[in-house]
C-alpha cells in the first residue's frame, strides 16, 4: 500500500528546480553552444525512435511497390531507360567539356577542380519543429557526415547539416529563417545573398539595390564564397522584383530550385581533399580495398617490369 502523506520534496521545489535547469539548458545551448558534443550523443541515443517512426511508412511503401501492376512497372522501366539514354548522351558531352575545362584551366595556370564525393541518403523525419525548417536523414558520423556539410537533391541545393548523431543527421533547409546562401546570378554574375523566410517555396534576396541588373526568372547559382557550399550548384530562381523607391532596397523574392516540400532522397557532398571523408558501408569498403589491393599488386608488377628495362621508360619520358 502506498503511504498517503509522504511527500519527500515539495512539488513547488521540484518545479523551481526543473525550470531553473531548463533555463540553464536554454542559455547553454543557445548562447554558448557548448552542447554540441552532448547533442551528438543524445541524437544517437534517440535515433531508434526516429527509425521506429518511419517503419509504418516504409512498410506501406513496400506493399504499394509489390502491388504495382506489371504494366506500370514496364512503363516506368521504359521511361527510366529512355531518360538514362538521354543522360548518357549528355554525359558524353559533359566528359568532353570537363576535359576541355581542365585543359583551359591548365593553360590559365589555375587550380584544376576535383570531383566531389557523394553519398545518397534518405529523409526519415520532416519538419518536426514548427518553428524551423529541418529534416533528419539516415546517415551520421558513422558515415563521415560532419556539421556544415552541404546537402543537395537532384535539382539543387537543399541545405546544410547542423547536427549529427551516430546514424542520423539534422539538415537545416534553405528556407529556414536563420539560413542564408551566397549566390551568383547565372546570367549577369551579380552576387547576392539568398535568405530563407520560413516558407518552403519562397526565399528573399538581401540588400539588392533598385538599379540592379537582376531580372525575373534569373537562375542563382551558389558562389562558393561562404565556404560551406561548393560553387556552381543551382539554388533559386528569381520570382518577383518589387522596386518600391520608398524602401532602401528592392524587394526580390525567389523560389528554391530544389523541391523543399517533398524531399525524399538527398545527396551529401564531401570536398575531395577536405578534412572529412565519407565512410562507405563495410561491404562496399571491403570491395573497394580488394579492388585497390588488386590494382596495387598489378601496379607493383608493372613497376617490377619497368625496373627490368629502365631504358625503355626513359626513352618514353624523353619522347
Amino acid at each position: 500500500m502506498n503511504p498517503l502523506f509522504v511527500q519527500t520534496v515539495s512539488l513547488r521545489f521540484r518545479l523551481t528546480l526543473a525550470l531553473l535547469l531548463a533555463f540553464l539548458l536554454i542559455v547553454l545551448d543557445h548562447r554558448l553552444s557548448v552542447m554540441q558534443p552532448t547533442r551528438m550523443f543524445l541524437n544517437s541515443l534517440v535515433s531508434p525512435v526516429q527509425y521506429l517512426a518511419v517503419v509504418p511508412e516504409q512498410i506501406f511503401d513496400r506493399v504499394s511497390d509489390t502491388l504495382q501492376s506489371r504494366r506500370t512497372l514496364r512503363a516506368e522501366n521504359e521511361r527510366l531507360s529512355l531518360s538514362m539514354l538521354e543522360m548518357q548522351g549528355q554525359m558524353q558531352r559533359f566528359q568532353f567539356l570537363v576535359q576541355e575545362n581542365e585543359r583551359l584551366r591548365n593553360l590559365l595556370a589555375t587550380e584544376a577542380r576535383e570531383d566531389s564525393l557523394r553519398m545518397v541518403t534518405e529523409v526519415i523525419a520532416v519538419d518536426s519543429d514548427a518553428f524551423s525548417h529541418q529534416v533528419v536523414v539516415n546517415k551520421g558520423t558513422a558515415h563521415g557526415v560532419y556539421i556544415g556539410q552541404p546537402v543537395l537533391d537532384e535539382r539543387g541545393i537543399v541545405g546544410q547539416v547542423t547536427s549529427v548523431g551516430l546514424t542520423t543527421a539534422r539538415v537545416l533547409l534553405l528556407s529556414d529563417q536563420s539560413h542564408a546562401v551566397p549566390t551568383r546570378s547565372e546570367r549577369s554574375g551579380i552576387r547576392v545573398v539568398v535568405q530563407g523566410v520560413g516558407d518552403t517555396n519562397q526565399l528573399e534576396l538581401m540588400h539588392v539595390p533598385h538599379s540592379t541588373e537582376l531580372r525575373e526568372g534569373d537562375l542563382l547559382l551558389s558562389s562558393g564564397l561562404g565556404g560551406v557550399f561548393p560553387e556552381g550548384y543551382p539554388v533559386a530562381r528569381i520570382q518577383r522584383i518589387i522596386r518600391d523607391e520608398s524602401l532602401p532596397f528592392a524587394r526580390v523574392t525567389a523560389t528554391p530550385v530544389a523541391a523543399l516540400d517533398r524531399i525524399r532522397m538527398l545527396l551529401l557532398i564531401w570536398e575531395p581533399d577536405g578534412e572529412f571523408q565519407p565512410v562507405y558501408r563495410p561491404l562496399q569498403r571491403a570491395l573497394e580495398n580488394l579492388r585497390r589491393n588488386g590494382q596495387n599488386a598489378s601496379e607493383e608488377a608493372t613497376e617490377l617490369l619497368r625496373d627490368e628495362e629502365p631504358d625503355a621508360t626513359e626513352q618514353e619520358d624523353a619522347l
Partner: protein, 163 residues
Amino acid sequence: MTSASSLTQRLVICATLIIGLVLAMMPMSVGVAVWRPDWPLLILIYWIIALPHRISIGIAFLLGVAVDILLGSTFGIHAGAYALVAYTAARHYQRVRNFSLLHQALLVMVLVLVERSLVYIIEYYLHNAPLMYRYFWPALSSALVWPWLFLILRKIRRRFQMV
C-alpha cells in the same frame, strides 16, 4: 507488489511514453500533421493523474528533453514547458480524477495550449519565430483524442495492476 512486477510496470510506462514520442515523430502529409495531437504530453498527463507519486516533474523534464532532441529545438524549451504542465497536473490530480471525461478533455486542451504558448514565447525570444495559428490547432485534436487515450491507458494500467 513484488519487485519484478514493479519493474514490468516501469517498463510499461516507459513503453507508452516512447510510443508517444514515435507517434509525435511519425512522418505524415502536411495537411494531417498540423492536426497531430501532442501525444507525449497527453500520455504524460495521464500517468501524472493516475500515479502522481511515481510520475511527476522529473519524468516530465526528461521527456521534454527527449522531445527537444527529437524536434531539434533548443535544449530546455520543451523540458521547461512540460515541467510546468506536469506541476499543474500533479498539484490538482485529485480534482482532475473526479472530472468527467469531457471536463478532462477541456482541461487537457487548456494544458496543451499553455505548453504550446510557452514554447512559442521562448522561440519568439530566441529566434524571432513568426506567430502561426496552426501551431495551436493540436490543442483541439488533443482534446478530441483524450477520452479514447484515457480509456486505453486505463485499461493498460488495470491490466498491469498499477495503483
